[in-house]
């Protein structure tokens, strides 16, 4: 092929890169550019996934009581550090007068690595193995992150980063007490 042909193909490659850039801009505008996280008060996106202990979790089945979704992953150091406190909160929530339920969402979704951590830390709380649908739906950009869903199924709070046991329990209790 001639030099002119090569030049045109080269320009086509550059044009394709520019077109891809433009398409991404259009898509981002549609999605809400620079929007992070799920706004408080909005309906919590429903998701479903297998539980590490067997059975299946679906968020919409939990309507009627608040749910704390703790997004974490076994490879994440701050998540592992947070987990013992989260476990104690999950156990505390089983006692009356609490109505909320705590569910840990493993964003890695690998049952083997999750089980290794569960065994090492002695975790008993329900752990959902996420295939990416939950973390995408909630636009989880960093972990650990806790999303509080009220009894009506709306996002009631967002706790970013590692939480102390007291702060986590207090935030959940606040959602429990909200009518």
């Amino acid at each position: 092929m001639s030099a002119a042909g090569s030049r045109w193909v080269g320009r086509a490659i550059l044009a394709a890169l520019a077109l891809l850039f433009a398409l991404r801009i259009v898509q981002l505008r549609g999605q809400g550019l620079l929007h992070v996280g799920t706004p408080r008060g909005s309906l919590a996106p429903d998701f479903a996934g297998p539980l590490l202990a067997g059975d299946r979790f679906r968020l919409s089945d939990e309507r009627g009581h608040p749910v704390a979704l703790v997004f974490w992953a076994p490879w994440c150091g701050p998540c592992r550090a947070e987990m013992p406190g989260v476990e104690r909160v999950a156990r505390a929530l089983k006692e009356k007068p609490h109505t909320a339920r705590l569910v840990a969402v493993d964003t890695e979704g690998n049952p083997e690595t999750a089980k290794a951590i569960v065994d090492r830390l002695g975790l008993t709380m329900p752990i959902v193995l996420d295939d990416g649908s939950a973390s995408n739906a909630y636009q989880v950009a960093m972990i650990p992150q806790t999303i509080l869903v009220d009894k009506a199924g709306h996002v009631a709070g967002l706790l970013r980063g590692e939480q102390s046991e007291a702060d986590l329990l207090s935030a959940i209790e606040h959602v429990e007490q909200t009518p």
């Binding site: 092929m1 030099a3 042909g5 090569s6 030049r7 045109w8 193909v9 080269g10 320009r11 086509a12 490659i13 550059l14 394709a16 890169l17 520019a18 077109l19 891809l20 850039f21 398409l23 991404r24 801009i25 898509q27 981002l28 999605q31 550019l33 620079l34 929007h35 992070v36 996280g37 636009q139 950009a141 960093m142 970013r160």
Partner: protein, 166 residues
């Protein structure tokens, strides 16, 4: 030989283009620029999300996200380096490394085609298609790498790198 001629020539007239590249027309900045353009165009949504993260969470979290996004091109860079190292072993040309970098362009073309198609269709590439595109890109790049090697080995002795004695 212009920038677009060097890029396009690798795809449509590899033998002639690699002969010219081996003779001294290769520019290391060509492929570096394409890698940056591919990263910005292909991962724009993740960069945009990093800006939102910086605003909502903090610069530290955004840095993590930008690093993770940038690492998307790491396999491509490792591939380019590996192609250069192996090329240097088989063809002792002084600019073997620079020439080998152009071998990545066919892979880019295939990936770009797939990304454009599925962006236009507004749904993510199915896993099977992604694997197929990977193999097609690697196969085309491998074929072009052989052409580049043949052209480099044709160079006169004065263009060869001196042999390093132990």
């Amino acid at each position: 030989m212009s920038f677009s001629e060097r890029i396009g020539g690798v795809l449509v007239a590899p033998r002639k283009t690699f002969a010219l590249l081996a003779a001294g027309a290769a520019r290391p900045s060509d492929v570096a620029l394409l890698v940056v353009l591919r990263l910005v165009a292909g991962e724009l949504d993740r960069f945009a999300r990093a800006i939102g993260t910086a605003r909502d969470i903090g610069v530290g979290a955004a840095e993590q996200e930008i690093l993770a996004t940038t690492s998307v091109v790491l396999p491509d860079i490792v591939g380019i380096l590996a192609a250069g190292v192996v090329m240097q072993l088989f063809a002792r040309a002084k600019n073997a490394f620079d020439v080998a970098a152009y071998v990545w362009i066919p892979y880019l073309a295939v990936q770009l085609g797939g990304a454009l198609l599925y962006s236009a269709l507004r749904h993510p590439e199915p896993a099977r298609v992604r694997v197929l595109l990977e193999w097609a890109g690697v196969a085309w790049a491998a074929g072009v790498w052989i052409v580049a090697l043949v052209e480099l080995r044709k160079l006169p002795p004065e263009a060869q790198a001196p042999e390093v004695k132990a």
